[in-house]
């Protein structure tokens, strides 16, 4: 399932990480990333944003 590592059984599926497991990460970057991952799972997520389009 993982976009970069399909077919590699050693790669954890982030959808299998329980909320209790995620809670161990506290308020860390990875905790925020998993929360964003879950949020986007339920959205029709727009594919781009332009924050990097300018200087």
């Amino acid at each position: 399932m993982n976009s970069s590592m399909q077919g590699d059984a050693a790669i954890p599926d982030p959808r299998d990480i329980s909320l209790a497991q995620a809670a161990k990460l506290g308020d860390s970057v990875l905790a925020h990333s998993l929360a964003l991952f879950r949020k986007r799972l339920g959205e029709n997520y727009p594919v781009q944003c332009a924050f990097d389009s300018s200087i």
Partner: protein, 378 residues
């Protein structure tokens, strides 16, 4: 490509270059300092009636594709030179005529923000992104006024105002162009002092004919990634890394230049010309041109332009080297303008290929190791 079954993705991001001039003279600016000098023939400010036409074209595109939400970025030059009243009129018109949620951001150099301007943005729900490269010394390297004065003081005054309780809701984030001569962690920690809700780091625009200034971009970015990722509490959102992590987790990226999702960004220039990603003008004069104009052409017509198609077809636009790369789906070949080589076009790896490979592999391995540890530990 259209005959081969390519279905264009509608534009969802509209960059309006409302003012073509800037009150700074940044040494790395692709608008003024690189191959395309087209700004010289642009009107200074977009005419009001042309701005209304731009809004109508966006509204037409929204209706045609049943879009429920779009992003509009007010850009330049320096967009605040258009003036508060002019900008207010434009945002009011966008909100009144576009039948969708319109998220409006202004991307500014931060030197002209004041309380009255921010009051207007607050009232209109406009978010503000500010460009800053680090501390006073770092800013002085590139971001100066034409007379040589450093812009740092004016920008930091604006940032303190933006971070105040009155205007914090308008604060979009900071945009930092990487200068490898500046210490990476010090740069990041300087930006953190302004409490940005988000930060993004940009590679200086470069290509195979106009190489990047200096070396060591991977090491520079990895140093910041480690400082950010290892913090017990997320101090800000670093867009480049957080989107890369989303790719590692299996989602598509939210930024052009990472991953292989189609680009949905279009530019309307100050004279009404419909253009591609305007940083393409760093490659060669006219590279961003489509030959289309909002007075006579719909935005849908830009969807079938060859460069739009190339930016929407994912791996089909990539070089053989990219297709064989183990981080292809994370890196996506890098930002389109960075792939240019005279005589070979854009079907090349990025001029930053070696750096992108190192950074993406580092982020991937770090995140996957932590996920394994989390799941193994039950």
């Amino acid at each position: 490509m259209l005959k081969a079954g390519h279905q264009p993705a509608p534009f969802r991001q509209f960059i309006l270059k409302v003012h073509s001039r800037c009150n700074l003279s940044c040494s790395y600016c692709y608008v003024y300092e690189m191959a395309d000098q087209g700004w010289r023939t642009q009107p200074k400010r977009m005419r009001r009636e042309l701005a209304v036409t731009a809004v109508e074209r966006i509204a037409e595109h929204v209706k045609e594709h049943d879009l429920t939400s779009v992003d509009t970025i007010l850009h330049g030059g320096e967009p605040l030179l258009a003036g508060r009243d002019w900008l207010e009129d434009l945002v009011d018109t966008l909100r009144a005529r576009v039948p969708a949620q319109v998220n409006v951001t202004v991307q500014t150099n931060g030197t002209l923000l004041d309380g009255r301007m921010l009051q207007a943005f607050k009232k209109l729900g406009v978010r503000v992104g500010v460009s800053l490269d680090g501390d006073a010394e770092a800013t002085a390297r590139h971001r100066r006024y034409a007379d040589g004065r450093n812009s740092y003081g004016a920008v930091t005054d604006s940032l303190h105002l933006l971070d105040s309780a009155d205007f914090r809701d308008c604060y979009g984030g900071l945009l930092c162009t990487i200068s490898v001569g500046n210490d990476p962690v010090s740069t990041y920690e300087t930006l953190l002092k302004f409490n940005p809700p988000a930060v993004d780091f940009l590679l200086p625009h470069a290509n195979w004919d106009c190489p990047p200034p200096g070396r060591g971009y991977a090491a520079w970015l990895i140093a910041i990634f480690e400082r950010w990722y290892a913090a017990p509490v997320q101090e800000t959102n670093i867009r480049l890394f957080s989107e890369l992590i989303q790719l590692v987790l299996g989602h598509s990226s939210g930024v052009e230049g990472l991953g292989i999702a189609p680009s949905t960004l279009v530019v309307i220039d100050t004279d009404g010309a419909i253009k591609q990603l305007d940083s393409l003008s760093s490659a060669y004069s006219g590279a961003a041109d489509t030959g289309l104009h909002i007075a006579t052409n719909s935005l849908d017509e830009a969807l079938s332009h060859p460069t739009t198609v190339a930016r929407q077809i994912g791996t089909a636009a990539l070089s053989a080297e990219c297709l064989a790369c183990p981080v292809l789906k994370l890196c996506g070949g890098g930002l389109y303008p960075h792939r240019f080589r005279r005589g070979a076009g854009f079907r090349n790896p990025s001029v930053y290929c070696a750096d992108l490979l190192r950074v993406t592999a580092h982020v991937r391995d770090r995140v996957l190791a932590d996920l394994r540890s989390l799941t193994d530990g039950g």
